[in-house]
Protein backbone atom coordinates (compact mmCIF):
# COMPACT_ATOMS: atom_id res chain seq x y z
CA UNK A 1 0.00 0.00 0.00
CA UNK A 2 2.86 2.30 0.98
CA UNK A 3 4.72 1.48 -2.27
CA UNK A 4 1.57 2.24 -4.25
CA UNK A 5 1.29 5.63 -2.56
CA UNK A 6 4.96 6.43 -3.20
CA UNK A 7 4.61 5.36 -6.85
CA UNK A 8 1.59 7.62 -7.31
CA UNK A 9 3.31 10.54 -5.60
CA UNK A 10 6.47 10.19 -7.70
CA UNK A 11 4.35 9.73 -10.82
CA UNK A 12 2.51 12.98 -10.07
CA UNK A 13 5.84 14.70 -9.43
CA UNK A 14 7.22 13.41 -12.76
CA UNK A 15 4.16 14.73 -14.58
CA UNK A 16 4.44 18.10 -12.83
CA UNK A 17 8.09 18.49 -13.88
CA UNK A 18 7.22 17.44 -17.42
CA UNK A 19 4.48 20.10 -17.57
CA UNK A 20 6.95 22.72 -16.32
CA UNK A 21 9.48 21.63 -18.99
CA UNK A 22 6.75 21.88 -21.64
CA UNK A 23 5.90 25.45 -20.57
CA UNK A 24 9.56 26.55 -20.47
CA UNK A 25 10.20 24.94 -23.87
CA UNK A 26 7.18 26.66 -25.41
CA UNK A 27 8.50 30.04 -24.32
CA UNK A 28 12.02 29.62 -25.64
CA UNK A 29 13.05 31.95 -28.45
CA UNK A 30 13.00 30.72 -32.05
CA UNK A 31 16.13 30.42 -34.12
CA UNK A 32 17.65 33.34 -35.97
CA UNK A 33 16.43 33.16 -39.54
CA UNK A 34 19.30 35.04 -41.20
CA UNK A 35 21.99 32.33 -41.31
CA UNK A 36 19.50 30.07 -43.11
CA UNK A 37 18.53 32.89 -45.49
CA UNK A 38 22.17 33.41 -46.34
CA UNK A 39 22.73 29.71 -46.80
CA UNK A 40 19.80 29.52 -49.25
CA UNK A 41 20.87 32.65 -51.12
CA UNK A 42 24.65 32.91 -50.80
CA UNK A 43 25.02 35.38 -53.68
CA UNK A 44 22.67 37.94 -52.12
CA UNK A 45 24.13 40.89 -50.27
CA UNK A 46 20.95 42.56 -49.11
CA UNK A 47 17.65 41.27 -47.86
CA UNK A 48 14.58 43.43 -47.54
CA UNK A 49 11.21 42.33 -46.16
CA UNK A 50 8.75 41.61 -48.95
CA UNK A 51 5.08 40.62 -48.78
CA UNK A 52 5.59 37.26 -47.11
CA UNK A 53 9.35 36.71 -47.14
CA UNK A 54 12.39 38.66 -48.26
CA UNK A 55 13.51 40.18 -51.52
CA UNK A 56 17.18 39.51 -52.25
CA UNK A 57 19.57 41.90 -53.95
CA UNK A 58 23.05 41.54 -55.38
CA UNK A 59 24.26 45.01 -54.35
CA UNK A 60 23.10 48.39 -53.10
CA UNK A 61 21.02 49.21 -56.19
CA UNK A 62 17.32 48.56 -56.50
CA UNK A 63 17.66 47.03 -59.96
CA UNK A 64 19.97 44.32 -58.67
CA UNK A 65 16.96 42.33 -57.48
CA UNK A 66 17.93 38.65 -57.74
CA UNK A 67 14.80 36.99 -56.48
CA UNK A 68 13.02 36.13 -53.26
CA UNK A 69 13.44 33.92 -50.25
CA UNK A 70 10.63 32.40 -48.25
CA UNK A 71 10.40 30.36 -45.05
CA UNK A 72 7.97 27.46 -45.40
CA UNK A 73 7.17 24.58 -43.10
CA UNK A 74 5.89 21.02 -43.29
CA UNK A 75 5.61 18.15 -40.84
CA UNK A 76 8.60 15.84 -40.66
CA UNK A 77 8.82 12.67 -38.61
CA UNK A 78 9.65 14.53 -35.39
CA UNK A 79 7.53 17.62 -35.88
CA UNK A 80 7.39 20.85 -37.84
CA UNK A 81 10.31 21.47 -40.14
CA UNK A 82 11.12 24.99 -41.40
CA UNK A 83 12.87 25.31 -44.74
CA UNK A 84 14.15 28.41 -46.53
CA UNK A 85 13.60 28.47 -50.31
CA UNK A 86 15.24 30.98 -52.65
CA UNK A 87 14.04 31.53 -56.22
CA UNK A 88 15.04 33.76 -59.11
CA UNK A 89 12.62 36.16 -60.77
CA UNK A 90 11.23 33.40 -62.99
CA UNK A 91 10.31 31.32 -59.94
CA UNK A 92 13.12 28.82 -60.48
CA UNK A 93 14.60 27.49 -57.23
CA UNK A 94 18.17 28.68 -56.69
CA UNK A 95 18.79 27.47 -53.16
CA UNK A 96 17.32 25.61 -50.21
CA UNK A 97 18.41 25.49 -46.59
CA UNK A 98 16.97 24.06 -43.42
CA UNK A 99 16.13 26.63 -40.77
CA UNK A 100 14.71 24.41 -38.06
CA UNK A 101 13.84 20.76 -37.66
CA UNK A 102 12.72 18.32 -34.98
CA UNK A 103 14.10 15.18 -36.56
CA UNK A 104 16.29 12.58 -34.89
CA UNK A 105 19.87 13.83 -35.38
CA UNK A 106 20.94 10.70 -37.25
CA UNK A 107 18.06 10.86 -39.72
CA UNK A 108 18.58 14.46 -40.65
CA UNK A 109 22.28 13.75 -41.03
CA UNK A 110 21.38 10.96 -43.41
CA UNK A 111 19.56 13.49 -45.61
CA UNK A 112 22.31 16.09 -45.34
CA UNK A 113 24.94 13.56 -46.38
CA UNK A 114 23.26 13.15 -49.75
CA UNK A 115 22.57 15.54 -52.63
CA UNK A 116 18.88 15.57 -51.77
CA UNK A 117 18.73 19.30 -50.89
CA UNK A 118 20.71 20.20 -54.02
CA UNK A 119 18.31 18.20 -56.18
CA UNK A 120 15.69 20.99 -55.86
CA UNK A 121 17.90 23.57 -57.55
CA UNK A 122 16.53 24.36 -61.00
CA UNK A 123 13.05 23.06 -60.26
CA UNK A 124 10.07 25.39 -60.60
CA UNK A 125 6.94 26.02 -58.53
CA UNK A 126 4.91 24.38 -61.31
CA UNK A 127 6.96 21.15 -61.31
CA UNK A 128 6.03 17.95 -59.52
CA UNK A 129 7.57 17.36 -56.08
CA UNK A 130 6.23 13.92 -55.36
CA UNK A 131 8.71 11.71 -53.56
CA UNK A 132 9.79 8.65 -55.51
CA UNK A 133 8.28 10.07 -58.72
CA UNK A 134 9.61 13.60 -59.23
CA UNK A 135 12.15 13.67 -56.41
CA UNK A 136 14.32 10.80 -55.18
CA UNK A 137 13.63 10.20 -51.48
CA UNK A 138 16.20 9.00 -48.96
CA UNK A 139 15.77 5.40 -47.87
CA UNK A 140 15.34 5.24 -44.11
CA UNK A 141 14.44 8.93 -43.88
CA UNK A 142 11.29 8.99 -46.00
CA UNK A 143 9.25 11.22 -43.71
CA UNK A 144 12.08 13.73 -43.40
CA UNK A 145 12.71 13.91 -47.15
CA UNK A 146 8.97 14.11 -47.86
CA UNK A 147 8.62 17.04 -45.43
CA UNK A 148 11.51 18.89 -47.06
CA UNK A 149 10.01 18.38 -50.54
CA UNK A 150 6.60 19.54 -49.30
CA UNK A 151 8.05 22.66 -47.64
CA UNK A 152 10.14 23.53 -50.70
CA UNK A 153 7.06 23.24 -52.90
CA UNK A 154 5.02 25.42 -50.51
CA UNK A 155 7.75 28.05 -50.34
CA UNK A 156 8.33 28.23 -54.08
CA UNK A 157 4.58 28.46 -54.76
CA UNK A 158 4.25 31.20 -52.16
CA UNK A 159 6.97 33.24 -53.89
CA UNK A 160 5.52 32.60 -57.34
CA UNK A 161 1.99 33.54 -56.35
CA UNK A 162 2.58 36.40 -53.90
CA UNK A 163 5.85 38.01 -54.95
CA UNK A 164 6.06 37.30 -58.68
CA UNK A 165 2.35 37.35 -59.46
CA UNK A 166 2.53 34.12 -61.41
CA UNK A 167 -0.35 31.69 -61.83
CA UNK A 168 0.21 28.88 -59.35
CA UNK A 169 -1.34 25.48 -60.01
CA UNK A 170 -4.09 24.53 -57.55
CA UNK A 171 -2.88 22.47 -54.61
CA UNK A 172 -3.84 18.87 -54.76
CA UNK A 173 -5.13 17.11 -51.64
CA UNK A 174 -2.44 15.02 -49.94
CA UNK A 175 -2.63 11.37 -50.88
CA UNK A 176 -3.52 8.98 -48.05
CA UNK A 177 -0.51 6.79 -47.36
CA UNK A 178 -1.95 3.37 -46.71
CA UNK A 179 0.51 0.68 -47.61
CA UNK A 180 2.27 -2.41 -46.34
CA UNK A 181 3.31 -1.08 -42.87
CA UNK A 182 -0.25 0.03 -42.08
CA UNK A 183 -1.75 -3.26 -43.28
CA UNK A 184 0.83 -5.28 -41.33
CA UNK A 185 0.23 -3.19 -38.21
CA UNK A 186 -3.53 -3.79 -38.37
CA UNK A 187 -2.88 -7.51 -38.93
CA UNK A 188 -0.61 -7.63 -35.88
CA UNK A 189 -3.24 -5.96 -33.71
CA UNK A 190 -5.77 -8.53 -34.91
CA UNK A 191 -3.37 -11.41 -34.23
CA UNK A 192 -2.68 -10.02 -30.74
CA UNK A 193 -6.41 -9.73 -30.07
CA UNK A 194 -7.07 -13.36 -30.97
CA UNK A 195 -3.88 -14.48 -29.26
CA UNK A 196 -5.03 -12.97 -25.97
CA UNK A 197 -8.34 -14.84 -26.01
CA UNK A 198 -8.44 -17.59 -23.36
CA UNK A 199 -10.02 -20.04 -25.83
CA UNK A 200 -7.27 -19.56 -28.36
CA UNK A 201 -5.02 -22.64 -28.31
CA UNK A 202 -1.99 -21.41 -30.22
CA UNK A 203 -1.07 -18.32 -28.24
CA UNK A 204 2.64 -19.18 -28.10
CA UNK A 205 2.88 -19.81 -31.84
CA UNK A 206 0.79 -16.73 -32.66
CA UNK A 207 3.11 -14.61 -30.49
CA UNK A 208 6.19 -15.88 -32.33
CA UNK A 209 4.58 -15.23 -35.72
CA UNK A 210 3.66 -11.74 -34.54
CA UNK A 211 7.19 -11.07 -33.28
CA UNK A 212 8.90 -12.32 -36.43
CA UNK A 213 6.58 -10.35 -38.74
CA UNK A 214 7.03 -7.26 -36.55
CA UNK A 215 10.80 -7.64 -36.57
CA UNK A 216 11.08 -8.18 -40.32
CA UNK A 217 8.46 -5.74 -41.61
CA UNK A 218 8.29 -2.98 -38.97
CA UNK A 219 11.94 -3.40 -38.04
CA UNK A 220 14.25 -4.39 -40.87
CA UNK A 221 12.16 -3.28 -43.87
CA UNK A 222 10.43 -0.10 -42.68
CA UNK A 223 12.37 0.78 -39.48
CA UNK A 224 9.22 2.05 -37.80
CA UNK A 225 9.23 0.77 -34.22
CA UNK A 226 7.61 2.78 -31.45
CA UNK A 227 10.16 5.04 -29.76
CA UNK A 228 10.17 7.66 -27.02
CA UNK A 229 10.20 10.30 -29.76
CA UNK A 230 6.65 9.18 -30.70
CA UNK A 231 5.59 9.77 -27.10
CA UNK A 232 7.37 13.15 -27.06
CA UNK A 233 5.71 14.09 -30.34
CA UNK A 234 2.35 13.21 -28.84
CA UNK A 235 3.03 15.30 -25.71
CA UNK A 236 4.37 18.26 -27.66
CA UNK A 237 1.30 18.31 -29.87
CA UNK A 238 3.37 17.75 -33.02
CA UNK A 239 0.66 15.61 -34.51
CA UNK A 240 1.40 15.11 -38.21
CA UNK A 241 -1.10 15.18 -41.08
CA UNK A 242 -2.99 11.92 -40.84
CA UNK A 243 -2.96 11.40 -44.59
CA UNK A 244 0.84 11.11 -44.65
CA UNK A 245 1.33 9.56 -41.23
CA UNK A 246 -1.52 7.12 -40.85
CA UNK A 247 0.93 4.57 -39.44
CA UNK A 248 1.74 6.85 -36.49
CA UNK A 249 -1.94 7.31 -35.67
CA UNK A 250 -2.61 3.57 -35.91
CA UNK A 251 0.39 2.77 -33.71
CA UNK A 252 -0.21 5.39 -31.01
CA UNK A 253 -3.99 5.22 -31.15
CA UNK A 254 -4.10 1.42 -31.12
CA UNK A 255 -1.76 1.09 -28.14
CA UNK A 256 -3.55 3.80 -26.15
CA UNK A 257 -6.93 2.30 -26.92
CA UNK A 258 -6.01 -1.25 -25.87
CA UNK A 259 -4.20 0.02 -22.76
CA UNK A 260 -7.13 2.16 -21.68
CA UNK A 261 -9.85 -0.37 -22.35
CA UNK A 262 -8.07 -3.60 -21.44
CA UNK A 263 -5.06 -2.53 -19.33
CA UNK A 264 -2.90 -4.69 -21.63
CA UNK A 265 0.13 -3.67 -23.61
CA UNK A 266 -0.52 -4.91 -27.15
CA UNK A 267 2.89 -3.86 -28.45
CA UNK A 268 5.94 -4.70 -26.31
CA UNK A 269 5.54 -8.44 -25.80
CA UNK A 270 3.85 -9.13 -29.12
CA UNK A 271 5.35 -7.18 -31.95
CA UNK A 272 8.02 -4.77 -30.79
CA UNK A 273 10.73 -5.43 -33.43
CA UNK A 274 13.58 -4.90 -30.99
CA UNK A 275 11.95 -7.09 -28.35
CA UNK A 276 11.64 -9.80 -31.01
CA UNK A 277 15.31 -9.43 -31.97
CA UNK A 278 16.30 -9.91 -28.33
CA UNK A 279 14.08 -12.97 -28.00
CA UNK A 280 15.63 -14.47 -31.13
CA UNK A 281 19.06 -13.99 -29.58
CA UNK A 282 17.69 -15.44 -26.35
CA UNK A 283 16.41 -18.51 -28.17
CA UNK A 284 19.94 -19.07 -29.51
CA UNK A 285 21.65 -18.66 -26.16
CA UNK A 286 18.98 -20.12 -23.88
CA UNK A 287 18.25 -16.81 -22.14
CA UNK A 288 16.13 -16.79 -19.00
CA UNK A 289 14.39 -14.17 -16.90
CA UNK A 290 17.03 -13.73 -14.22
CA UNK A 291 16.55 -12.23 -10.80
CA UNK A 292 18.64 -9.24 -9.83
CA UNK A 293 17.82 -9.64 -6.14
CA UNK A 294 18.37 -6.56 -4.03
CA UNK A 295 19.23 -4.43 -7.09
CA UNK A 296 15.76 -4.77 -8.57
CA UNK A 297 14.39 -1.52 -7.16
CA UNK A 298 17.55 0.41 -8.02
CA UNK A 299 17.48 -0.80 -11.63
CA UNK A 300 13.77 -0.06 -11.94
CA UNK A 301 14.25 3.53 -10.80
CA UNK A 302 17.34 3.92 -12.97
CA UNK A 303 15.25 2.99 -16.01
CA UNK A 304 12.48 5.36 -14.93
CA UNK A 305 14.98 8.14 -14.29
CA UNK A 306 16.45 7.81 -17.78
CA UNK A 307 13.01 7.87 -19.39
CA UNK A 308 11.97 10.90 -17.31
CA UNK A 309 15.16 12.74 -18.30
CA UNK A 310 14.63 11.92 -21.98
CA UNK A 311 11.06 13.24 -21.97
CA UNK A 312 11.95 16.29 -19.89
CA UNK A 313 14.79 17.36 -22.19
CA UNK A 314 12.78 16.72 -25.35
CA UNK A 315 9.97 18.95 -24.08
CA UNK A 316 12.39 21.58 -22.86
CA UNK A 317 14.07 21.80 -26.29
CA UNK A 318 10.80 21.10 -28.12
CA UNK A 319 12.57 18.42 -30.13
CA UNK A 320 10.97 14.95 -29.85
CA UNK A 321 13.77 13.02 -31.51
CA UNK A 322 16.60 14.73 -29.64
CA UNK A 323 16.59 12.37 -26.66
CA UNK A 324 15.46 9.19 -28.34
CA UNK A 325 18.20 6.96 -26.97
CA UNK A 326 16.81 3.70 -28.28
CA UNK A 327 19.14 1.71 -30.49
CA UNK A 328 16.44 0.42 -32.82
CA UNK A 329 17.70 2.29 -35.87
CA UNK A 330 21.22 1.12 -35.08
CA UNK A 331 20.13 -2.48 -35.47
CA UNK A 332 17.49 -2.26 -38.20
CA UNK A 333 19.04 0.44 -40.33
CA UNK A 334 22.67 0.05 -39.28
CA UNK A 335 22.76 3.79 -38.66
CA UNK A 336 24.24 5.22 -35.50
CA UNK A 337 27.36 6.51 -33.84
CA UNK A 338 30.05 4.46 -32.14
CA UNK A 339 28.39 4.81 -28.72
CA UNK A 340 25.11 3.44 -30.08
CA UNK A 341 26.85 0.52 -31.78
CA UNK A 342 28.69 -0.26 -28.52
CA UNK A 343 25.38 -0.16 -26.66
CA UNK A 344 23.73 -2.39 -29.27
CA UNK A 345 26.55 -4.92 -29.03
CA UNK A 346 26.29 -5.06 -25.25
CA UNK A 347 22.53 -5.47 -25.32
CA UNK A 348 22.57 -8.19 -27.99
CA UNK A 349 25.29 -10.18 -26.21
CA UNK A 350 23.40 -9.90 -22.91
CA UNK A 351 20.24 -11.07 -24.71
CA UNK A 352 21.90 -14.43 -25.23
CA UNK A 353 21.75 -15.07 -21.47
CA UNK A 354 19.12 -12.72 -20.06
CA UNK A 355 15.58 -12.46 -21.42
CA UNK A 356 14.97 -9.07 -23.08
CA UNK A 357 17.56 -7.05 -21.11
CA UNK A 358 16.80 -3.84 -23.03
CA UNK A 359 13.05 -4.05 -22.32
CA UNK A 360 13.55 -5.01 -18.68
CA UNK A 361 16.21 -2.53 -17.65
CA UNK A 362 16.66 0.24 -20.22
CA UNK A 363 13.76 0.81 -22.61
CA UNK A 364 12.14 4.21 -21.88
CA UNK A 365 8.74 2.97 -23.04
CA UNK A 366 8.29 0.62 -20.11
CA UNK A 367 8.31 3.44 -17.52
CA UNK A 368 5.85 5.34 -19.70
CA UNK A 369 3.48 2.37 -19.76
CA UNK A 370 4.01 1.88 -15.99
CA UNK A 371 3.08 5.50 -15.38
CA UNK A 372 0.02 5.23 -17.58
CA UNK A 373 -1.03 2.07 -15.76
CA UNK A 374 -0.50 3.72 -12.34
CA UNK A 375 -2.74 6.63 -13.25
CA UNK A 376 -5.31 4.44 -14.92
CA UNK A 377 -5.61 2.36 -11.71
CA UNK A 378 -5.66 5.53 -9.62
CA UNK A 379 -8.54 6.99 -11.61
CA UNK A 380 -10.45 3.69 -11.44
CA UNK A 381 -9.87 3.51 -7.65
CA UNK A 382 -11.13 7.06 -7.20
CA UNK A 383 -14.14 6.33 -9.38
CA UNK A 384 -14.97 3.18 -7.39
CA UNK A 385 -14.62 5.02 -4.06
CA UNK A 386 -16.89 7.76 -5.31
CA UNK A 387 -19.47 5.26 -6.50
CA UNK A 388 -19.41 3.41 -3.14
CA UNK A 389 -19.81 6.73 -1.29
CA UNK A 390 -22.70 7.77 -3.49
CA UNK A 391 -24.44 4.42 -3.00
CA UNK A 392 -23.86 4.58 0.79
CA UNK A 393 -25.28 8.11 1.00
CA UNK A 394 -28.32 7.02 -1.02
CA UNK A 395 -29.00 4.21 1.48
Amino acid sequence: MQTKKIERLLGALAIATIIIAWIIGANLADKDVFPALRAAAPTANHFTPSRTGYAIFGDETENSLLGYVQVASANGYGGPMKVVVATDLQGKITGVSILQHKETPLWIQKVLNTKFIKSFTGKKYSDGFQLGKDVDGITGATYTSRAIAEAVLKGSRQIAGTELGLAVPAETNPRIQFGIPEIVLLGLYALGYFGHQSKFKFTKQARWVSMIVGMVVLGFIYTSPLTISDVNKFLLGFWPAWQNHLYWYLLMGGILFVFTVDNKNPYCEWFCPFGAAQECMGALGGAKSRSVGKYKLFLLWLQRGLAWLAILLALLFRNPGLTSYEIFGTLFDLSGNSVQFALLGLVLITSLFVRRPWCTYLCPLRPVSDLYRTFRTWVIDLWKKRTVKTLASQK
Partner: protein
Amino acid sequence: MEKTNGKNSRIAEISILLVVLVCAALILFDLTSNVVKEYDSQNQPAVIQVTATPKFKARPTLPADFTPDAVIDS
Protein backbone atom coordinates in the same frame (compact mmCIF):
# COMPACT_ATOMS: atom_id res chain seq x y z
CA MET B 1 25.44 -27.49 -4.14
CA GLU B 2 23.24 -24.79 -2.59
CA LYS B 3 26.32 -22.69 -1.90
CA THR B 4 27.41 -22.95 -5.54
CA ASN B 5 23.93 -21.98 -6.73
CA GLY B 6 23.88 -19.03 -4.39
CA LYS B 7 27.30 -17.90 -5.57
CA ASN B 8 26.30 -18.29 -9.23
CA SER B 9 23.13 -16.29 -8.80
CA ARG B 10 25.09 -13.53 -7.00
CA ILE B 11 27.56 -13.43 -9.91
CA ALA B 12 24.63 -13.24 -12.35
CA GLU B 13 23.04 -10.39 -10.34
CA ILE B 14 26.26 -8.38 -10.25
CA SER B 15 26.97 -9.05 -13.95
CA ILE B 16 23.53 -7.77 -14.94
CA LEU B 17 23.96 -4.75 -12.68
CA LEU B 18 27.33 -3.94 -14.23
CA VAL B 19 26.09 -4.35 -17.81
CA VAL B 20 23.07 -2.14 -17.13
CA LEU B 21 25.26 0.51 -15.47
CA VAL B 22 27.64 0.56 -18.45
CA CYS B 23 24.66 0.82 -20.84
CA ALA B 24 23.15 3.63 -18.76
CA ALA B 25 26.48 5.46 -18.82
CA LEU B 26 26.62 5.12 -22.63
CA ILE B 27 23.04 6.36 -22.92
CA LEU B 28 23.76 9.36 -20.69
CA PHE B 29 26.88 10.17 -22.69
CA ASP B 30 24.97 10.03 -25.99
CA LEU B 31 22.07 12.02 -24.55
CA THR B 32 24.37 14.71 -23.17
CA SER B 33 26.27 15.14 -26.43
CA ASN B 34 23.00 15.46 -28.39
CA VAL B 35 21.62 17.99 -25.92
CA VAL B 36 24.84 20.05 -25.94
CA LYS B 37 24.75 20.18 -29.76
CA GLU B 38 21.10 21.23 -29.71
CA TYR B 39 21.74 23.87 -27.04
CA ASP B 40 24.57 25.34 -29.12
CA SER B 41 22.42 25.48 -32.23
CA GLN B 42 19.47 27.03 -30.36
CA ASN B 43 21.51 29.56 -28.43
CA GLN B 44 21.01 32.33 -30.98
CA PRO B 45 19.01 35.57 -31.04
CA ALA B 46 15.30 35.53 -31.73
CA VAL B 47 13.81 35.37 -35.21
CA ILE B 48 13.50 38.76 -36.87
CA GLN B 49 9.83 39.48 -37.18
CA VAL B 50 8.71 40.32 -40.70
CA THR B 51 6.38 43.14 -39.86
CA ALA B 52 7.85 45.99 -41.86
CA THR B 53 6.24 47.03 -45.13
CA PRO B 54 8.43 46.49 -48.19
CA LYS B 55 10.56 49.63 -48.40
CA PHE B 56 13.81 49.31 -50.23
CA LYS B 57 15.58 51.97 -48.19
CA ALA B 58 14.65 50.27 -44.94
CA ARG B 59 16.19 46.97 -45.93
CA PRO B 60 18.14 45.22 -43.19
CA THR B 61 21.75 44.78 -44.19
CA LEU B 62 24.18 42.28 -42.81
CA PRO B 63 27.80 43.09 -41.90
CA ALA B 64 30.19 42.70 -44.83
CA ASP B 65 32.26 40.11 -42.98
CA PHE B 66 29.19 38.11 -41.98
CA THR B 67 29.66 34.45 -42.73
CA PRO B 68 26.69 32.31 -41.79
CA ASP B 69 27.01 28.82 -40.41
CA ALA B 70 26.73 26.44 -43.32
CA VAL B 71 23.33 25.05 -42.47
CA ILE B 72 23.38 23.22 -45.73
CA ASP B 73 25.57 23.42 -48.74
CA SER B 74 23.01 24.83 -51.15
